[in-house]
C-alpha cells in the first residue's frame, strides 16, 4: 500500500470503509510521521498518541461490527489548540493556560469525535490567535514546510504546517481576521472561513467574539468540504450559531464549475505592498476563470481601504473584554499569591507573567479604544466602517456570484522579519479582514508558486453569507484546472523534510 500519509482524507476514509487499511494503521502512519518530522516543523503543542489510537480502534471495531461509518470516520486530524478537549491540555498558545486540562469538549471537538475523526493532537498558534505568523506562541514558532526559516502563517500556523508536512490530512483552524486563509495561502493548502455563525464557537477560546469563526483546513477542496460538513450546523450552546440548514458544500465540491458565473475582481486588492509574483499568479487565475467559462468583471469596494484600521480597533476592543476572564482566580496561572497581596495585585502580576507582548499590546489598545473620551472617535467609527464594508459587499454581490483576490499581499516572510513591527505584521491580513467584518464566507486555495521565491500563493474566493457552497463549486473547478495544467497537486512540490 502507498504511503498512507500522502493520501487525501477522502481516500483514507474510503480505504478504512472498504477495509484496505484499518484506522489504527492510518493513525499509526501519521503518528510515525509526526515523530519523524515534527521536531523540525513544530506544528504540534501536544500529541495525544494514546487518545488517537483509542479513537482509531473504536472506529475499526464499529466497522467490524457492521456499522455504517461517516464519510471521514477513521481519518486523523490536527486540532488547533484553541478548542477545548476534555482531558487533553488546551493552552491557546499561552503561558497563562499552561497545563490546563479542560473538563469539557468544544462542540467542534464533540462533533469530530462523533464522526469518528481521529484527533492526533493540538496544534501551535499565535497566543490567543493574535498574530499572522505563529511567532507569538509562548511555546516557540512553527516552521513553514516549504522553507523552515519562514513563517507558516498565523494564527493557525501549526494547523497549516501539519498539512503541508503530511503529518495530518485534515486540520481545524479559526479565522478572526484571516487565521485560516492566510496560513493556507502561505503553505499551499486549502482553508475555509465559513459564514459567521456556521460553526459553533462553544468551547472555542474567545478572542473577538463578533469575528471569530472556526473552519476546515485540508490539502484538497473536497477534503475541506467533507470536514466542513462534519463541524458545521446549529448549536443551541452558541447563541450566535445560525439556525438554518448548512449549504451542501460536499455536493458543490464534487460538482466544480464556474460556467456561466459572474465573478468580481476587487479593484482595491492590488497596488503598493503586493509582491509582483503574487499579482502574476492571481492574474493567471483570473484568466483561468475566464477560460473555464466565467464572466469576470472588476468591482470596487472603496470602504475596504479602512477595513484594516477598523479591524485593529474592533478586535482589540473585544479581546480586552474577553481576556478579562484570565484573572488567576478559577483556573490557569496564579503568580504572587503569598498571603500579603490582594486579589487585584495577584491578577496584575499573573497577567503580566502569563501574557506575551502581542496580547498585552492588544489588551491595552482595546482598553484605550473603549475608554470614555475616545470611544466615539475610535470604536464608534470602526463600527461605522463595518457597516460600510458590509454595504460594499452587498453592492458587489448584487452584481456578481463570488469575488476573487489574492489571499495575502506576499508569500511567507522570514521568521523574525516583522516580529517587532506590529503594523507590518497586521498588513498580512489586508485582503482577508473585510470578510470577517461583514461575516460572509471565504476560501483560500493554492494558485501556484511565486517566480521570485518559489513559495506558494493563495487565491481567495469570497461568497455571500450562507452561500458557502459557492466557494467549493468555484474552488473545486479551479483546483482541477490547475492540477491538469501542473500535472499534479502543487503540494507535491514541497521539499522533503
Amino acid at each position: 500500500m502507498a504511503d498512507l500519509t500522502r493520501l487525501t482524507a477522502a481516500e483514507l476514509a474510503a480505504a478504512v470503509a472498504d477495509g484496505t487499511a484499518s484506522s489504527v494503521e492510518v493513525t499509526e502512519a501519521h503518528l510515525a510521521r509526526v515523530e519523524e518530522v515534527d521536531e523540525k516543523v513544530h506544528a504540534f503543542l501536544h500529541v495525544d498518541r494514546e487518545g488517537a489510537l483509542a479513537q482509531a480502534k473504536a472506529v475499526d471495531q464499529r466497522r467490524a461490527a457492521g456499522e455504517r461509518l461517516g464519510p471521514l470516520a477513521g481519518v486523523p486530524l490536527a486540532l488547533k489548540d484553541i478548542f477545548t478537549t476534555e482531558g487533553v491540555p488546551t493552552t491557546v498558545g499561552s503561558k497563562i493556560l499552561e497545563g490546563w486540562i479542560p473538563p469539557y469538549d468544544a462542540t467542534v471537538t464533540r462533533r469530530l469525535k462523533e464522526a469518528g475523526v481521529v484527533i492526533l493532537g493540538k496544534t501551535n498558534m499565535d497566543e490567543f490567535a493574535m498574530g499572522s505568523s505563529t511567532e507569538n506562541s509562548a511555546y516557540g514558532p512553527t516552521g513553514n514546510p516549504w522553507d523552515l526559516t519562514r513563517i507558516p502563517g498565523g494564527s493557525g500556523g501549526g494547523s497549516s504546517a501539519s498539512l503541508a508536512s503530511f503529518q495530518a490530512p485534515l486540520a481545524i483552524g479559526t479565522d478572526t481576521g484571516g487565521s485560516i486563509r492566510q496560513p493556507a495561502a502561505v503553505t499551499g493548502t486549502v482553508g475555509v472561513k465559513p459564514t459567521y455563525g456556521g460553526v459553533s464557537r462553544y468551547g472555542m477560546v474567545a478572542f473577538s467574539s463578533s469575528l471569530d469563526q472556526g473552519g476546515p483546513c485540508a490539502r484538497t477542496v473536497l477534503d475541506a468540504a467533507l470536514l466542513h460538513e462534519v463541524i458545521a450546523g446549529h448549536d443551541p450552546l452558541d447563541s450566535t450559531s445560525i439556525d438554518a440548514p448548512v449549504p451542501d458544500v460536499v455536493a458543490a465540491a464534487r460538482n466544480g464549475s464556474v460556467e456561466g458565473m459572474r465573478i468580481g475582481v476587487v479593484r482595491e486588492f492590488r497596488g503598493e505592498g503586493y509582491q509582483p509574483g503574487v499579482v502574476r499568479r492571481f492574474d493567471e487565475s483570473v484568466e483561468l476563470l475566464r477560460e473555464l467559462g466565467a464572466e469576470v468583471v472588476e468591482v470596487s469596494c472603496p470602504s475596504f481601504d479602512l477595513a484594516l484600521a477598523a479591524y485593529y480597533l474592533i478586535a482589540p476592543s473585544e479581546c480586552s473584554s474577553n481576556l478579562a476572564r484570565f484573572d488567576a482566580m478559577r483556573y490557569g496561572l496564579r503568580i504572587g499569591d503569598d498571603g500579603t497581596r490582594s486579589a487585584e495585585e495577584v491578577t496584575s502580576l499573573t497577567r503580566e507573567a502569563g501574557f506575551g507582548p502581542e496580547v498585552k499590546r492588544r489588551v491595552m489598545l482595546g482598553t484605550y479604544a473603549l475608554s470614555s473620551g475616545y470611544y466615539d472617535a475610535y470604536y464608534g467609527s470602526a463600527q461605522k466602517v463595518r457597516t460600510l464594508v458590509s454595504r460594499d459587499f452587498e453592492r458587489a454581490f448584487a452584481d456578481v456570484d463570488v469575488l476573487v483576490s489574492p489571499t495575502t499581499p506576499t508569500t511567507a516572510f522570514p521568521i523574525g522579519e516583522r516580529a517587532d513591527d506590529p503594523m507590518a505584521m497586521y498588513r498580512a491580513d489586508l485582503c482577508t479582514i473585510p470578510v470577517n467584518l461583514a461575516g460572509n464566507a471565504a476560501m483560500s486555495l493554492p494558485c501556484g508558486l511565486a517566480d521570485e521565491d518559489g513559495l506558494p500563493v493563495g487565491l481567495q474566493i469570497i461568497a455571500p453569507a450562507m452561500a458557502d457552497d459557492r466557494l467549493y463549486r468555484v474552488g473545486s473547478a479551479v483546483e482541477a484546472a490547475f492540477q491538469a495544467r501542473w500535472g499534479h497537486p502543487i503540494i507535491e512540490e514541497v521539499p522533503a523534510l
Binding site: Y312, G339, V346, S348, G380
Partner: protein, 98 residues
C-alpha cells in the same frame, strides 16, 4: 488626534490589570502610538450618518429551552483552580483588613 504618552500607557496597563515593567512601558508607548496613529484613519467616517454594526448577525435574545442537563461536578469545576478549600475557589483577599 493626539499621540499616546508613556503616562497614558501606564494608566491603561493599570486599567487592564497588567503589572508592566519600566522597559515594557517604554517599548509599548512607542508601538501603541504608531498603531493608534495608523488606525485613527477610521475617524474619517465619524461625521457620516451611518448606523454602527456591532455584530454580523441581527440576532437578539436568543433562547434555548430551559431544560435541566448534566453540568460539571464540583470536582471537575475545581480541577483547574490555582487553590481551593472546602469545595470552593480559594482567592487572595479582596477587602482590606479593616
Amino acid at each position: 488626534m493626539p499621540g499616546i504618552t508613556r503616562e497614558e500607557v501606564a494608566h491603561l496597563a493599570r486599567l487592564a490589570r497588567l503589572e508592566l515593567s519600566a522597559e515594557e512601558l517604554d517599548h509599548f508607548a512607542g508601538q501603541l502610538d504608531d498603531i493608534i496613529g495608523a488606525v485613527a484613519r477610521v475617524s474619517d467616517v465619524a461625521a457620516q450618518d451611518v448606523p454602527p454594526t456591532s455584530h454580523p448577525l441581527p440576532l437578539t435574545n436568543v433562547m434555548r429551552p430551559d431544560e435541566v442537563r448534566q453540568g460539571l461536578t464540583p470536582a471537575q469545576a475545581l480541577a483547574g483552580a490555582p487553590a481551593q478549600e472546602q469545595q470552593r475557589f480559594k482567592v487572595p483577599q479582596i477587602l482590606g483588613e479593616e
